[in-house]
Amino acid sequence: MAVTEQHPPCALCVATQKVLAAVLPVLAVVGVIVAIWYAAALGMNRGWTLDVAERQGVELTRGEIWRDAMVQERPRLPAPHQVAQELWTTTYGEDFFRERRGEMRANPRSLFFHAYQTLAPTILGFVIGTLAGMILAVAIVHNRAMDMSVMPWAIASQTIPILAIAPIVIVVLNAIGLVGLVPKSLISAYLSFFPVVVGMVKGLRAPAVMDMDLLRTYSASRIETFWKLRLPASVPFLFTSLKVAIAAALVGTIVAEMPTGARFGLGARLLTGSYYGQTIQIWSALFMAAICAAMLVGLIGFIERMTLRRMGLDR
């Protein structure tokens, strides 16, 4: 046969190749980071090991020093496996509820419980902030006076490091009787409303002049234009901002928990860890926060893909 039959490349091989090409470099970088981490843990913890050995008058071989640097109770930098172990024992090793004084209560030893304490205000704040941001954006797009007076201040409000004074806001709100979920979520809402306003305003103004003109020739009212053209056009912009907003909301809650004497929550874990020098606890709280952030952003990303596919906007 003169013409060789060209096999289409098998779909599975192509898929595997694609996944490998995407995953290998990431794995390599993560591997390097873990290696650097171990090296840093060794470098930062061996001083303590040598101190103890000197005080006891013991000579240590290099291997013993290395081993000790990895298993200290309060290392300057815990090794990755120590953090992983702490994460495991405080999540799956602890019950979410335990019996205390005859009734079932949430177990403050469980990291899931602390994560829940942080996630609840985060999500409430995110919802409040998103709704406020959307309403503000609609008003800004439809009212020139709103646009001219609110927009500059919305931008200025974000150049103020509000996050740094979040604890004070919490103290003040506590003083007027607001405790628990609400003060924390107000901080989250304040942080998450701005990305939503900016993204939504951009999105509502995204329709081309041609599209707007078409609706005018249909003699569509402003409300009809809003529902049929502006709102659908703003959805991709909205989702991009929502991902930023939910990450910001989480940061807001954690910082709000920090120096206010909050007893539960990831921020409180960080603070008590730093008071008592429990470095492993600090790092495991940090990783829990990271996992939460990744999950929240991933969730929004998933909803984004689903919605855009339904709307036929995905690429």
């Binding site: 290998l24 001219m148 201040w153 989480l250 120096p259 952003v297």
Partner: protein
Amino acid sequence: MSTTRQPLHNWVWPGVVFVVIAVILVMDWRLASIAAVWLIAWMINTILARNETTGASILVPVIFGLTLLTLWELAVRLFEVSPVILPAPTEIAVAFGANTSTLWADFVQTIIRGALVGYVIGCGAAFVTALAIDRSSFLERGLLPVGNFIAVLPIVGTAPIFVMWFGFGPSSKIAVVVAMVFFPMLINAVQGLKASEAMQRDLMHTYAANYWQSLIKLRLPTALPFLFNGLKICTTLALIGAIVAEFFGSPTVGMGFRIKIEVGRLAMDMVWAEITVAAIAGSGFYGLIALLERELTFWHPSQRRG
């Protein structure tokens, strides 16, 4: 249609204002006076906003801001809010004027020696890393997803760790700021370095331009809008990092330290004075970068005027 609508506007607004104020007046005269100030200011703004002049575009936000301050003052005075909860703007101004030397010392400690140094180091390091990532596609495929992931993490949480490592002085604040600004800046810089179009790069290629020439003459200028975007985001992050880090330990000077101490003493006017300093510093810092952006990227569509 607009011709029939226009005369309506002339009396509808004052009418609505009058009715609303009258209704609230029946309930509470204090609320009514606050509502009156708000609605009258809003009416002035609505009328001013019809002008297209630059004067109006400055005046309208200024009036809006002044209105908010007046409302704050009125609310605190009329409802006799305890200064322990919320001091009035005038009280804050008095505290600000009386403690300028303390505020200045805190500003130098936190902003100049902490945030600014960390900002320069962090953004510089991120830019150099972006150049390295740009040259190697393996690094790009490996580091970028990791960087994207880390950029959304609550990095402020590393503050207690850095304070533990680097002590109470400015170096721990610098470390926190560097950690906070690095990844947002990195992502923007990498994106910016890819912003030039294939056609433009091909043109540089036909000129036999080497890597550095095309970097300086083409790719850096096209990257500038992205770089400035990152730089602007990082201004606020830097201030946040420096102040939050001070909550975990600091020498007896600094904005975070002062806020923590004065809250303990219930001297809320001083706390708000410190917040005012933070607000001015933050807006000024951001404004400076925005001004620089306008000077350097005057060619970009987003900067065009008129």
